[in-house]
């Protein structure tokens, strides 16, 4: 089951990413429990300490809270907070890389906008 993890980025980050994706997709609504450290470790054949690090990252960002003796739960408003965080990240990394690539390809701003618009229309962005 390690197959879903890769060696392109640190494992604990991938674990954090995985849980974040789950929260965003609505798999883990507010105040529901997320998989425990041990469950994650067992599922991905990784060291529980690494899994814990991933979970703690979300705790530090206020996305998860701990209920003693029971486990980790999604904080209310986590999905919204995540969306916000990812939007900021989107601008900083993906947009930047996207525009740079366009620059490398020698596109003008106008050409770039038309490409984006075409795709946005196809995806039916409101």
């Amino acid at each position: 089951m390690k197959g879903t993890l890769n060696d392109q980025s640190l494992i604990y980050r991938q674990i954090a990413q995985l849980l974040e994706d789950g929260i965003l997709r609505g798999e883990y609504p507010a105040d529901t429990q997320v998989p425990s450290t041990n469950e994650l470790a067992r599922a991905f054949n990784i060291n529980p300490a690494t899994a814990a690090k991933g979970i703690n990252r979300l705790v530090d960002e206020g996305l998860l809270y701990k209920r003693r003796g029971i486990g980790m739960f999604v904080a209310p408003g986590a999905a919204e907070a995540l969306r916000q965080k990812r939007r900021e990240n989107f601008a900083k990394t993906q947009v930047k890389a996207f525009v740079r690539e366009a620059k490398r390809l020698g596109l003008t701003q106008q050409e770039l906008y038309s490409l984006v618009k075409a795709q946005a229309q196809e995806e039916q962005l409101p």
């Binding site: 390690k2 993890l5 060696d7 392109q8 980025s9 640190l10 494992i11 604990y12 041990n38 470790a41 067992r42 991905f44 054949n45 990784i46 060291n47 529980p48 300490a49 690494t50 690090k53 740079r100």
Partner: protein, 303 residues
């Protein structure tokens, strides 16, 4: 008659200024290391770096030329109080002194001598590994590894050292081993120190990693923290060289392809962000195997 004595919690295992020479040849030089209790360590290094020797000395299977091995502050060598807490699973070969035994007799000795031996667990593992009761020197290499692993796990020793446990195991068997190891770790919190050549596969199992190079310790920290300090930087040779010179960085590894160059660099997050901001340069992460080669490849230049 068989009462399973519950194993005590593991204690720190320490190499204290450890030196080892084989004749005139120094294999370990002034090694200072502590293996913290309750963690899974990876011990990696090139052939001849001293991994097996280190593990042997730490478990009392080998003696130090200088310095000492300590467990919970007590010397390990010839110390009955301490030896029961340690187990060293060696790579077995048909030439080993123990190879004339049958699997059953070998494990029976384990049951006799290991204070925390769990026979039920041993039986479970024998079944899981499908080990026949043959002479050890008649087994395949993979089966020999599995016998060694079985004894190591069933010993329930608070600190267990494994030397290349996955030698001779195919991928499926290796995955099975990691799973079994992690299960046991989650159950008991034993300390495991595992030396391996199959680095990337095992990296996610190791909480901490110790890298040995020519008998000296080159790294001893949390796996992911270590990997975080390294990046591959690539770009046009001129620009790359300029950027590196500007910040006074010496690359660990260099690869040249035409006018394009790629280097392995160690540094801080801030540095990498700076470098990534530069237009012509690409900054990529490295995995543990890459880091190891960069640290111990001694600047092999390619291209």
């Amino acid at each position: 008659m068989t009462t399973i004595t519950k194993a005590p919690a593991p204690q720190p295992l320490q190499a204290d200024k450890l030196c080892k020479n084989y004749g005139k040849q120094p294999v370990l030089q002034d090694l200072d290391l502590t293996f913290e209790p309750g963690r899974i360590y990876g011990l990696i290094g090139r052939n001849g770096a001293g991994k097996t020797t280190l593990l042997g000395i730490l478990s009392g299977q080998n003696y130090a030329t200088g310095g000492r091995a300590l467990y919970g502050g007590q010397p390990v060598w010839e110390n009955s109080a301490v030896l029961g807490n340690l187990h060293f699973a060696r790579e077995m070969s048909a030439a080993s002194e123990l190879a004339g035994l049958s699997v059953k007799n070998f494990l029976r000795a384990g049951r006799l001598f290991c204070p925390y031996w769990d026979q039920n667990y041993a039986d479970e593992l024998i079944k899981k590994f499908e080990l026949p009761n043959k002479m050890i020197n008649r087994l395949s290499r993979g089966q020999m590894s599995m016998v060694s692993i079985t004894a190591a796990l069933a010993s329930r020793a608070p600190v267990t050292l494994l030397d290349e446990p996955t030698a001779g195991l195919d991928v499926v068997a290796r995955e099975r081993f990691y799973r079994i190891l992690l299960d046991e770790y989650q159950r008991t919190g034993r300390t495991f120190v595992i030396s391996t050549h199959i680095i990337e596969e095992a990296a996610s199992v190791f909480e901490k990693v110790v890298i040995l190079d020519e008998g000296k310790e080159v790294a001893d920290q949390n796996t992911e923290d270590l990997v975080e300090q390294f990046r591959y930087i690539s770009g046009p040779a001129a620009e790359l060289d300029a950027a590196l010179a500007e910040r006074g960085i010496t690359p660990l590894q260099t690869q040249v392809l035409g006018g394009h160059k790629m280097v392995a660099v160690r540094g801080e997050e801030a540095l990498f962000e700076e470098l990534a901001a530069r237009d012509g340069l690409t900054v990529e992460g490295m995995n543990l195997q890459n880091v190891f080669v960069a640290l111990c490849g001694h600047g092999d230049e390619e291209g």
